[in-house]
């Protein structure tokens, strides 16, 4: 009897992917809720990692007719001491057996693992970056070149050798150009030949071959091909994110933590949209400096507060390193709202004239102490200033946060898809 042994290991995997996606789609709202809940508990740094989520089984439950209750009979193995007619005490909780998915109502939660992509997708599903296309410089999009087949004319530097040789070979075969070893063979035959007549004939043949070889060139100008390129508009695929933070003494650890979480979310979000995301950390007291991440969040600093210094620093960095036509610029500022009163005028001017025109998006996050509701107090000086700017038409987004759990809702709120607004703006 013939036996087939087949190696299926190399078959394309992911046979269940489609079913899995269907499942996720069906359970979308549930999973999304779970994802958001999970991400609150997690370190934001790990948000990207995907992982296990738990959703309530309700709604994903597959009902069946099941019987329960009534008198039950069972045969069990391992009797040790019972004899017929004994009575066993019922244990209190009855029988609670855990069972597979879809069976048994004892299981009210369903756990499974989401991949990193699935997780982030669901996490950011209904969010959108504002002004994804550069506003001002939409026309001056940079151009790139890309390969586009072959052409018969071009500069010598662009000759495609392999393609040329291939065509030449085809032509030589088609026209029956004698091969080198063919001629050599013939010459050898002539050298070995003793009969005069035959030698004559061979010589004539050799002549003919040589003439043919001359007539059909090894490489003809016809064969030559050049690599063709064409220019294509290249969308700006990189973004820079400026994190501005006040690190003066009035910012507590808690406030910094809030700010950090917000920055992380923004980073994750930008990362989804752009191939390449740079981050610039600028911290300021009454002076601003660009620092690395570690120093930004944990380095000690003290001094007064001059917000304008940070904006000035950002402006300079943009001018030096991030040409607005090549970069999408996002900025998020976190502060407790303190600013020296005399600085207000300068800050406002810098923001409206220098920063906002080059930014895709500028968010201001005012962080407050945990428990202390920032909303009851009178507005801080920075908030008042920004509010005034916004009312006069500057594209600023601003929110107040004082609890860790508020970060995501605020973030969500800032980036919510605003289709209606865009549609209105479109025509």
């Amino acid at each position: 009897m013939p036996i087939h042994i087949i190696d299926r290991r190399l078959n394309p995997g992911g046979k269940s992917l489609e079913n899995r996606q269907r499942f996720l789609r069906r359970a979308k709202s549930l999973v999304q809720g779970a994802v958001k809940k999970t991400s609150q508990e997690r370190d934001i740094r790990d948000v990207l990692e995907g992982g296990e989520v738990t959703i309530p089984l309700d709604g994903m439950h597959e009902p069946r007719f099941r019987r329960e209750g009534g008198t039950r009979d069972m045969v069990l193995p391992g009797n040790k001491k019972f004899i017929e007619g004994d009575y066993l005490q019922r244990s209190g909780q009855g029988r609670a057996k855990d069972s597979g998915p879809g069976e048994g109502d004892s299981e009210d939660a369903f756990r499974f693992v989401l991949s990193r992509d699935e997780f982030v997708d669901l996490f950011l599903d209904d969010l959108e970056l504002p002004d994804l296309a550069k506003r001002k410089i939409a026309q001056t999009e940079s151009e790139g070149i890309q390969r586009a087949g072959y052409t018969t004319s071009g500069s010598p530097a662009n000759i495609s050798v392999s393609r040329t040789v291939r065509l030449a070979l085809a032509r030589r075969i088609a026209l029956k150009r004698p091969r080198k070893d063919e001629i050599e063979e013939l010459e050898a035959a002539i050298a070995a030949c003793t009969d005069e007549d035959e030698r004559e004939a061979l010589l004539a043949q050799l002549e003919k071959l040589k003439a043919k070889t001359k007539r059909i060139p090894f490489i003809d100008p016809l064969d030559i091909r050049y690599r063709r390129f064409e220019t294509v508009p290249r969308p700006v695929a990189q973004a820079v994110m400026f994190c501005l933070m006040d690190v003066s003494g009035s910012m507590s650890e808690h406030m910094k933590d809030l700010a950090k979480r917000f920055y992380m979310l923004l980073y994750v979000f930008l990362k989804r949209r752009y191939k390449h995301v740079e981050i610039v950390f600028i911290r300021h007291t009454d002076r601003a400096e660009e620092v690395d991440e570690q120093t930004f969040f944990y380095g000690p600093a003290s001094g007064g507060t001059l917000v304008s210094s940070a904006l000035q620093a950002m402006h300079e960095i943009v001018r030096e390193r991030f040409n607005p036509s090549d970069w999408n610029i996002y900025a998020a500022q976190a502060s407790d709202g303190d600013n020296s009163y005399s600085d207000g005028e300068l800050t406002g001017m810098l923001l409206t004239d220098k920063i906002l025109p080059v930014c895709q998006f500028f968010a201001y996050l005012e962080v407050g102490e945990s428990g202390g509701s920032a909303f009851d107090l009178s507005d801080s000086s920075l908030w008042t200033l920004y509010e005034r700017l916004r009312n006069s038409g500057a594209p600023l987004s601003m929110r107040k946060v004082s609890e860790r759990s508020e970060i995501f809702p605020v973030f969500h709120d800032l980036f919510q898809r605003r289709e209606t607004a865009q549609e209105k703006a479109a025509p």
Binding site: R8, S16, R22, R26, R66, R72, Y87, R90, F112
Partner: protein, 512 residues
């Protein structure tokens, strides 16, 4: 001395071929098995998980519930809560066995013997599989089903198809014919039979009968009820079949989907009735083959010990008070019974001669076993062949749990002379699907009236339906039926215990 099949744990495809040939020689010659041609496929863990979530079949239509299964299995596998099976075997011709790539050479030998010969023989010879499944056609049918579902999705929208399939899945356990239908007579047969009947009437004609007074004739309504039920083939316990044939407002493609789900349920029906026997057979076969290969010197002592290790794990039966206990392990019970039959056939005690006069001391072990494998299912197998010795050995006892009984759970019978038969009968009953599944049937529908569909659940031993689930299933049923559905739970004395009435949900708009 014969050459070893392999050394150590590594294997390649030549090894697999040699192993299969060696197993085949033992299986066919020594055990006299009769198998479908084998096809052995090596798969990865991920592919095994894929197979898990499509009920073990190599191809299946798409549905979210399989994705849910997959997510669930994957999560528990990754966390290490669950090991994967060593193999999956499909009742088809050729018989496909999936082997996991990470099995050692010994394990591959074990699973080839187990699946490709044990299960394979059982699939080919057991009467239930012969009667209910079409091994040659199943893969083609699944292929058809998959494409059909896909086409329906394209044509009628995924949501609509999903709605129908969801409903069909909910009723899947009640989409099974339990008895083979009567074969339809062809016209010639019919004519012959009519002729015979007429002849019989002529032969026994006696004018006197005309003078015997008749009983009260049936009322008109009773006649019309009877007629109606007969026309619809009621009572009908195959709910999916009934819907497919009689639901008034289903589209043809929906009927076809119900039919697909019903056919697949039917295909798996024998498997649920023969768990103990199927696994018992396969385990017994692999044990015999492995032992033989070891005797022949084709498997080294070390590898044989490895085999014994896994084998012992497979047939481990925890006792009822063990935390690992979760009912009878079909491998353990099945294997123990097969071995017990071997003992009875070759070396019976007086007790065995009294209990099993037919087979005790017949000395033809394989003959008896092959006959058993062909003609029984779990319920009848246990009811017939569970011996007192094995009951003593497993120390079986029967508990009777009546919620009304204050004193507690009664020990009804134990493994003693008085209890053997009762324990055995009870264990057999536990394996009878007729007792496990709820007995629900369509009893009436007035197609010319309000079209309400009436179902009865015949409650056995007071076990009623779980309320939330029942309502949801009935909701699905009502959606397919598109008129009200009522389910009445009645006990053995026709006393109504509970009544559910469910109305169909409006069909979501945008169905073009």
């Amino acid at each position: 001395m014969t050459e070893r099949l392999f050394e150590g744990a590594d294997w390649d495809f030549h090894t697999l071929q040699r192993i299969t040939d060696a197993c085949e020689a033992v299986a066919l010659k020594d055990l006299g098995l009769d198998v479908y041609p084998n096809q052995i496929e090596v798969i990865t863990a991920e592919q095994m998980l894929d197979a898990y979530s499509s009920v073990g079949m190599p191809l299946f239509y798409k549905h979210w519930s399989f994705g849910k299964q997959f997510a669930y299995h994957e999560a528990s596998y990754r966390k290490g809560l669950m090991g994967l099976a060593y193999e999956i075997v499909i009742n088809s011709s050729p018989c496909i066995s999936y082997l996991m790539e990470e099995n050692t050479a010994t394990m591959q030998t074990l699973v080839i013997a187990h699946a490709a010969f044990g299960h394979n023989h059982f699939f080919k010879n057991n009467y239930l599989f012969k009667q209910w499944t079409d091994a040659d056609g199943i893969l083609d049918y699944l292929d058809f089903a998959k494409n059909y579902v896909m086409q329906c999705e394209e044509r009628y929208g995924r949501a609509e198809v999903e709605r129908t399939l969801d409903a069909a899945h909910a009723l899947m356990s009640h989409g099974i014919d339990r008895y083979p239908g009567k074969k339809k007579l062809d016209l010639r047969e019919e004519e012959k039979r009519a002729g015979r009947r007429r002849q019989h009437e002529e032969e026994v004609f006696n004018d006197l009968w005309r003078t015997v007074p008749k009983g009260a004739s049936k009322t008109r309504s009773a006649i019309s009820l009877e007629r109606r039920r007969k026309l619809l083939g009621l009572p009908q316990e195959n709910l999916l079949y009934f819907l497919e044939k009689s639901a008034p407002r289903l589209a043809p493609w929906q009927r076809e989907l119900l039919r697909i789900v019903r056919h697949i349920a039917q295909y798996f029906y024998p498997q649920s009735q023969t768990k103990v026997m199927n696994e018992g057979t396969a385990t017994y076969v692999h044990y015999r083959i492995m032992t033989k290969l070891h005797q022949q010197g084709r498997i080294s002592d070390g590898n044989f010990l490895e085999f014994l290790g896994s084998h012992t794990n497979v047939v481990f039966q925890p006792e009822f008070d063990d935390p690992r206990f979760s009912g009878f392990n079909p491998y353990a019970l099945g294997f123990a019974m097969m071995q017990d039959i071997e003992r009875i056939v070759t070396n019976p005690s007086d007790e065995d001669r009294e209990w099993f006069p037919d087979i005790a001391g017949r000395n033809d072990v394989m003959g008896v076993l092959r006959d058993v494998w062909a003609n029984y299912r779990d319920e009848s197998f246990i009811g017939q062949f569970l011996s007192p010795k094995l009951m003593r050995h497993l120390r079986m006892f029967h508990l009777h749990d009546d919620p009304e009984e204050r004193a507690g759970i009664r020990v009804d019978a134990i493994h003693d002379e008085r209890g053997f038969r009762r324990v055995r009968r009870e264990l057999a009953r536990q394996h009878d699907v007729g007792y496990i599944d709820a007995n629900i049937e369509v009893v009436d529908v007035d197609l010319s009236g309000d079209r309400r569909l009436i179902l009865h659940h015949h409650v056995i031993k007071g076990a009623q339906l779980n309320e939330t689930d029942a309502k949801r299933v009935l909701q699905h049923l009502a959606d397919l039926w598109t008129y009200d559905v009522s389910l009445i739970e009645v006990d053995a004395n026709d006393k109504v215990l509970r009544e559910y009435v469910v109305s169909p949900r409006p069909i979501p708009a945008a169905v073009a």
